[in-house]
């Protein structure tokens, strides 16, 4: 065994692990010196492991550990608090946005639902011939066109007859061809105004050119409620149209308008009590108030009709024509206002 191999063995193993190595060291002074020095180094290194440690080593370590843990806990809390602080604004804005968005969606649905169901409601009402009659004549716009477009009253297409009051009777009691819509009266119920009678089940009179965007009497159902809402909106639209057509208010126009040239004009029949039916009629110009004017109608118990102009002067000429149109509607006896809106 060579001296180099002995040094390699000491470096690798830290000991003379073979008999050859031990005998070589015994015979070789240089390797013996190398081995002696290494043994002293080993003793010195191991002495390091017996050194005294600083006083209060344990106390200091534990104090440091506890302090670090306390800081860590505090840091986590601070982080969470900071997170809350940072996100408080965006979360608040998001919350407000969600609330407002939700409210807007509800409003949109609330407004769109009646419009979407109006045509369906109109189709569900009359059946058979009555349904066919309910359609506006060719060349005329459907009733909804009157509601959705803000056109001057003079440009409104002719509409046969439309009632906006809520009939109380179910479908069999509804007279075919008569619109049954929905605004519930404030003071008098529609039941009182449109009390069904045996005659109501009969066919319409000859004057029933009136056709209707009629709807079933389903006020008790959601569809009926929607139709009722539609009727309210229609009434609002018509009121606006009336205001535009009647800038001077209640006073009738002193001179007949040029619209008398047309074959029919559109009028509204509304109860003087303000809570009765609201009916749209088509009348010949001769049997209608002057443009923008108003007549007072009194429907008697026997179904007769008396007419006065705005100044209280009785009118006899249009009585027969108006009675022929109004009588089939079976409006309750009482005072009415007939207003020409086109």
């Amino acid at each position: 065994m060579t001296c180099e191999e002995i040094r390699n063995m000491i470096d690798r193993e830290g000991a003379l692990v073979t008999g050859d190595a031990q005998s070589h060291v015994h015979d070789c002074a240089d390797c013996a010196e190398t081995w002696r020095r290494w043994q002293e180094v080993q003793r010195g290194l191991r002495a390091f492991n017996e050194e005294e440690t600083p006083a209060f080593l344990h106390t200091r370590i534990m104090a440091h550990v506890r302090d670090a843990e306390a800081k860590e806990t505090e840091k986590k809390g601070a982080w969470l608090f900071g997170l809350k602080k940072i996100w408080a604004g965006p979360i608040l804005v998001l919350f407000i946005g969600v609330v407002l968005g939700g409210y807007g969606v509800v409003q949109v649905f609330h407004n769109k639902k009646p419009e979407a169901q109006a045509p369906a409601a109109a189709q569900e009402g009359p059946t058979g011939k009555a349904k066919k009659d309910a359609l506006p004549p060719k060349g005329t716009a459907p009733a909804t066109a009157l509601e959705d477009k803000h056109v001057p009253a003079s440009q409104l297409p002719p509409v046969q007859v439309e009632t906006a009051a809520r009939p109380s009777a179910p479908s069999p009691a509804v007279q075919p061809g008569v619109a049954q819509g929905g605004a519930a009266p404030k003071e008098e119920s529609a039941d009182e105004l449109f009390a069904p009678s045996p005659a109501a089940a009969g066919p319409p009179a000859a004057a029933s050119r009136e056709t209707l965007a009629s709807r079933p009497s389903t006020q008790d159902t959601p569809e009926g409620a929607v139709a009722g809402n539609m009727a309210v909106r229609r009434q609002d639209t018509r009121d606006e149209a009336e205001k535009r057509a009647e800038p001077s208010g209640f006073a009738p126009s002193p001179t007949p308008s040029s619209s008398d040239d047309v074959s029919e004009v559109v009028c509204t029949l509304s109860s003087l009590s303000g809570s009765g039916p609201y009916i749209t009629l088509q009348l010949p110009p001769q049997a209608a108030p002057p443009s923008g004017g108003i007549w007072m109608l009194e429907v008697t118990e026997d179904g007769g009709v008396r007419i006065q102009d705005a100044l209280g002067k009785p009118l006899s000429a249009p009585v027969a024509t108006v009675a022929a149109v109004v009588r089939p509607l079976h409006v309750p006896p009482g005072g009415y206002r007939l207003k020409r809106i086109s």
């Binding site: 040094r7 390699n8 000491i10 470096d11 690798r12 830290g14 020095r37 290494w38 002293e40 180094v41 080993q42 010195g44 290194l45 191991r46 002495a47 390091f48 492991n49 050194e51 440690t53 600083p54 080593l57 344990h58 200091r60 370590i61 534990m62 440091h64 550990v65 670090a68 843990e69 860590e72």
Partner: protein, 216 residues
């Protein structure tokens, strides 16, 4: 490569000096299990059983008592935070020693960075055979003249240790000071046993060369 050690302190002829390693191992295991069960007082027992070894290891690697104290504290903070996840894939002693070595490496790296910032001219040394050595630590030992005039072996060894590359220094500490076996060292520094042997041989050779001229 997790190394499962059945008996980390197997009686392989190494010195025991009256210590009952098996009992220590059992006590560590019991304390770890108590801590994992929620008994934080068990952690204090674990610190008490390993704090001296950790401090001495750090002191030999770092060469400064204050740095060694800081490293010891940092080591046990890490132990405290990670002990819940300890799965006994190695002995508690091996695990703690590994954490201590990592802490010391971080401190040495940090010290090296600081030294580079202070002295831009200090770079890696070329040993002449193309292999670069790590940047040497600041030499806090007495001047060579006083050592050669009869300073104790202990101080000469400390100075020589500080001249070694960190990986050589730590393997000398683990093997010749802490008396870990090759498998334990492999587990601590996360490398194969063969690498441990070859690195240890180079470290002893470097130590012998570092002592020449310092210790007669």
């Amino acid at each position: 490569m997790p190394l499962v050690l059945s008996y980390p302190w197997a009686m392989d002829g190494r010195r025991t000096e009256g210590r009952d390693f098996q009992r220590e191992w059992d006590a560590d295991t019991a304390n770890v299990e108590r801590f994992q069960a929620g008994d934080e007082e068990a952690f204090e027992a674990l610190v008490r059983s390993r704090e001296r070894e950790v401090y001495r290891t750090a002191l030999r690697i770092l060469g400064d008592p204050d740095d060694a104290m800081e490293a010891s504290q940092e080591t046990f903070i890490r132990v405290f935070r990670s002990l819940k996840a300890f799965r006994f894939e190695a002995s508690f002693k091996t695990w703690v020693t590994g954490i201590c070595i990592n802490v010391c490496r971080n401190k040495l790296a940090s010290a090296g960075q600081q030294m580079k910032r202070r002295s831009t001219g200090l770079t890696r040394e070329d040993r002449g055979d193309g292999e670069e050595l790590e940047t040497p630590l600041p030499d806090r030992s007495p001047d060579p003249a006083s050592v050669t005039l009869g300073l104790e072996l202990k101080e000469a060894l400390q100075r020589a240790l500080l001249k070694l590359a960190p990986e050589h220094r730590e393997i000398i500490v683990l093997r010749d000071i802490q008396d870990l076996d090759y498998d334990e060292i492999a587990a601590v520094i996360s490398c194969p046993s063969g690498t441990v042997k070859s690195r240890l041989s180079r470290a002893r050779q470097a130590l012998r060369e570092a002592l020449e001229g310092i210790w007669p």
